[in-house]
Amino acid sequence: MSKFSNDIVDHSRQHRFSPYAMNGGNILAVAGENFAVVAADTRLSEGFLIHTRDHPKTIQLTPTTMVAMAGFEGDILTLKKNALTRIEMYAFEHSKFPSTPAVASMLSKMLYYRRFFPYYVYNIVAGLDENGKGCVYSYDPVGSYERESYRAAGASNELLQPLLDNQIGGKNLRNVPALTVERAKQICIDCFISAAERDITTGDAVFVYVITKAGVNYDKFPLRRD
């Protein structure tokens, strides 16, 4: 943490400029049978300071793909811009948008390109694959990625991931209710309410996006502002 954090002062080492900052926040995505749900909070913070309460962490790259990003805002902005440009170039060349697995693969290569000065960003790509099934891809900062059914990332991913294992993955449960859009949305909101209680960088509001073949709809829910 000390490598990336600017607000913890270490008195016994030579002062060095750190190119990274931690801007906090959480993101979360769940893949359903024919939908995907992405949730991201809107707080941008640095240490104990809140820069803004109204800064969503997602971007829609294609009609069926969204990317959520958490970590260092400087790298998030650049990565968003570069990813959008690449998608536009693909669409111009191929006269169609790339599929979600294609976007996922592209993002992985973009991240690994910067293997020796990484983007300090935790990404989650969510959308519908070519068969119309929901898909979620999660990444580490240098591009290692995997398709999953659900993933939480960001400042309090350790708080949220076990809850998703239990409620969506049905771990340690005998039977778990079917995953409908409403249930997925409700679980996402509950996750963020819990995260906002225990993590100082999460709060203010959460955007919940639902990606179906009809398009992307979103709702905004308020969270604790403290």
């Binding site: 309090s156 350790e158 708080l159 809850l163 771990k171 995260a195």
Partner: protein, 205 residues
């Protein structure tokens, strides 16, 4: 590598309606290697007062034995059972005595007050700073995971059966996301006049 994560372990206590739940995992490890799968971290101090300890295993045993000694002497002198709030003070004092060379443990207390019959939970840090919340306490190598689970699953005034389910699910799913904890779990539900102990079927890794 931190001293607090050398042996691994997790402990949780939750308040319900006239009852409390206290639970721990069963792993005893030496860094990466698991050497014991039946190391319970909950120690009964008396019928209605249970102590859970996580951290360095050696200090877990030492502190629990020292506290048992203190409690037995208390009961002999005072001729009554110690109340959980007083026990918290005894524990806090014992830990702060070692302020500059502490016991590497994080304790959790769960008990029912012998006079008022009210449920009581509390926890301390390794130097004895007490905390008495109204809902739940968690300690161990997967404390963050436990906080996430408890925050979502806990609600006030649960009956013993519901509290058992809530506590078990919170513990099981949190330790499944931690390499240092797991290998089974034990849960005690303490009501007035009754203690139910159950071992949980869990992932053994």
């Amino acid at each position: 590598m931190s001293i607090m994560s050398y042996n691994g372990g997790a402990c949780i206590a939750m308040k319900g309606r006239n009852c409390i739940a206290i639970a721990s995992d069963l792993r005893f490890g030496i860094q990466g290697q698991t050497v014991g799968m039946d190391f319970e971290k909950i120690f009964p101090m008396n019928d209605h007062l249970y102590l859970g300890l996580t951290g360095l295993a050696s200090d877990i045993l030492t502190v629990s034995e020292r506290l048992e000694f203190h409690i037995k002497l208390y009961e002999l002198r005072e001729n009554r059972k110690i109340s959980p709030k007083t026990f918290l003070s005894v524990l806090s004092n014992l830990l702060y005595e070692k302020r500059f060379g502490p016991y590497f443990i994080e304790p959790v207390i769960a008990g029912i007050d012998p006079k008022t019959r009210q449920p009581f939970i509390a926890s301390c840090d390794l130097i004895g700073c007490p905390m008495e919340p109204e809902d739940f306490v968690v300690t161990g190598t997967c404390a963050t995971q436990l906080y996430g689970m408890c925050e979502a699953l806990w609600k006030p005034d649960m009956q013993p059966d519901e509290l058992f389910e809530c506590c078990s699910q919170a513990l099981l799913n949190a330790v499944d996301r931690d390499a240092g904890s797991g290998w089974g779990a034990v849960v005690h539900i303490i009501e007035v006049g009754k203690v139910t102990t159950r071992r949980l079927k869990a992932r053994m890794d």
